[in-house]
Symmetry: C2
Subunit: 428 residues, 2 copies
């Protein structure tokens, strides 16, 4: 069977993106934090829209929304596509919402043009990915894949002290660990267990949120792996002293020591080569007075790589370098690991399909590592998983300035639709 022509017009997706952007708290850009009124309105709107397009609609126990076209082979596993409905505070129109709007548009196009699929296809709007309201992330896909079991809802609160459980209850939702084994109840909210063990493949379409595709003038990024991440909090302590009366040779300057460490880390990261990235995003020097030598500096490290061994090796290497530099300067060093996630490889077979389709569609593309985390990383240990990137203007994301052109967004939509066709319509 030769590949049929896939040519999805982008208007429906662009309109849906604009409609979703309207569900926002006041202020610049789009602010749609988990379990807020604007979040609930967006998920209800999506359910209505999916239903109007003929999908079977469901909201699970944590607020993930699914729109489904059932396949003719009910025993076959589900082909799932989508992304997250929540945004950061003052975020843009595309982060998350693009993957949802494209999923809904792709599924509708496939049904309209090719009728019922062999395998059930679903579009999903995960309730949360950003970690912007509560101090956890991937609440949507994490409950679907078993990272969370719902018990976190009672323990975890936002900065105003509202727990997830209490915020969920305000949206008519409840997620009880004891329900995990039970079948999903009918109805559009509080719809039973979020856990999904019936997924045959997951494909997520997302803006790159980086400048690699734009710099290389490419249409598409096919993600090889989502980078694993280590975060550390580092404290360097020396002696606070008078900037005028302390000769250079008698100083234990914590800031000069931190500067040497950061420069060494940058040089080592450049030497290690892509896709390793190492960043200090936050640094505070105390006491912070122009005429006083800083006696203490605290800074953060964020280190990422797509291969677990390379990530581990770089982290232990650079922390050894820090210890040597501290010792050389008579400074004390205290390092606390604050986050560790493993790299998530995408499915090589799916990626070969994506490359094949991209060529057929005349798109320029490259394989790349996603330095940012995504819902897809939670599916990668469970089922064949793929991610497609489109360019972000100037690499800007998490900002009202976030932008990808309609043409760029349409290219991603067509690649997604074509791969969903292969996954759902073709005999395996």
């Amino acid at each position: 069977m030769s590949a049929p022509a896939i040519n999805v017009p982008a208007e429906q997706m662009m309109e849906l993106l604009e409609e979703l952007a309207a569900f926002s708290a006041p202020g610049p850009g789009v602010s749609r934090l988990l379990y807020t009124p604007e979040w609930l309105q967006a998920q209800r709107f999506l359910q209505e829209r999916m239903a109007a397009l003929g999908m079977g609609v469901r909201m699970d126990g944590v607020g993930n929304v699914y729109g489904r076209f059932p396949g003719s082979q009910p025993a076959a596993k589900v082909i799932l596509t989508g992304s997250h409905i929540d945004t950061v505070l003052n975020g843009g129109h595309y982060d998350g919402a693009y993957g949802i709007a494209a999923a809904v548009t792709a599924l509708h196009y496939l049904i309209q043009n090719f009728g019922q699929p062999l395998r059930t296809i679903e579009a999903v709007a995960f309730c949360e990915e950003e970690g912007s309201r509560f101090p956890l992330a991937y609440w949507g896909s994490g409950n679907v894949t078993g990272l969370y079991d719902g018990s976190e809802a009672a323990r975890c609160a936002d900065s105003a002290g509202v727990t997830i459980a209490s915020a969920m209850s305000g949206c008519g939702l409840a997620c009880r660990p004891e329900d995990r084994g039970a079948a999903a109840a009918a109805g559009d909210a509080g719809g039973g267990t979020p856990l999904r063990e019936d997924i045959g493949a997951f494909v997520e379409l997302h803006i790159e949120q980086g400048i690699v595709l734009e710099q290389a003038a490419l249409d598409i990024g096919i993600v090889e792996a989502i980078a694993g991440q280590r975060r550390y909090s580092v404290k360097v302590a020396g002696s606070t002293n008078h900037a005028g009366t302390t000769p250079m040779g008698l100083r234990r300057d914590a800031l000069a020591g931190a500067a040497e460490m950061l420069l060494a880390m940058e040089q080592a990261a450049i030497a290690a080569g892509d896709p390793l990235v190492a960043t200090c995003g936050k640094l505070e020097a105390a006491p912070g007075t122009p005429n006083v030598i800083p006696g203490e500096v605290q800074f953060t490290l964020d280190i990422r790589h797509s291969e677990a061994e390379a990530l581990e090796h770089f982290c232990s290497f650079i922390l050894d370098v820090f210890a040597e530099l501290a010792a050389k300067r008579g400074l004390t060093l205290q390092v606390t690991a604050t986050l560790a996630t493993s790299p998530a490889p995408m499915d090589t077979g799916l990626n070969r399909q994506l490359e094949h389709i991209a060529r057929r569609q005349g798109r320029s593309f490259r394989s790349m590592v996603s330095g940012a985390g995504h819902d897809a990383q939670l599916f990668s240990p469970m089922c064949p998983t793929a991610m497609i990137f489109v360019p972000s203007r100037a690499g800007i994301s998490h900002s009202s300035e976030e932008y990808s052109s309609p043409e760029e967004l349409a290219a991603g939509l067509n690649l997604l639709t074509a791969v969903l066709y292969e996954l759902a319509y073709k005999e395996s």
Copy 2:
């Protein structure tokens, strides 16, 4: 005439130091900010104590307090010694107060043991040196030497919006520029023009506020020069970007750039050698989020040297290096000069006298540069000026932990008393 034995017991000075420390706002250490009730009480107490010791007492228009023993040669210029009565917030017992307590004790000892001097000798408690309440420093000695003319009082306010003029008025003081030419009025407050053109020599005794003497296990530091100082505010701007999605080669990381600049400055300062010191005391990286590459860093520079040319050369060299490093990284650099003071050489003749006396008194000593500013720097262009340092434990100052032992303080007192004898009692 051979040198008489000078052996000043330290008890009177130590008692006066403890009495002065009691004039403090509540809180740790000593807080005696300019024109506060505790400041006024301290200056009134000093006037009473000086009067009780037989001195002629006067408070000038800005609140400097003088205690005078007139000499037998009324036409001869005055030999002046002392320091500042104000402290930083939560300061120690010794910074400033030591020079005053020693001055009063030395003058009393000289009169008791040697009778009337040839030249008038005065002890002074300058009203302000630290710049802790109002955004200017050396208000006491600066009004005496012509750095200020009193007109600043109406324009300059503390953080609560109280002008110097208003705070002075609360202490019964007034300092009008139009009074400058007028003779000092009698009375103990509002006592006319602060300007002094009758000073023949000024000697200031002070704690080192650094660790040089302690590290070298020396009794005395004889100050060659007070360092000139340059301060800058530096802004480095790059691109704020996602720490995960931006490869090392596509970054314009303002913090990595700032780190390279600070390390280069430290290396250049070490290479330049003592007495050059260069410090970054304050650094702020924005936006300051662990997973975001900092797009902007602001930091301060404080650079000091005892020779104007060497100071100028280092500053222009290091700012050129900063510009090169910024250009190499595609960062923009903005440098604002915020302070520039000239080095103040002390009198070489007076210093030779001090060395001679120190040897005679069996004190170990060294010549050194004062990296900190002092009242003495304002007298150095006007008259022979000298400064004597005693060790500060661990170099700590501007802290309630400030400490010098009674033996160390006594050594300084005896050196001061002996040089005052030579200046006031010996035929020139």
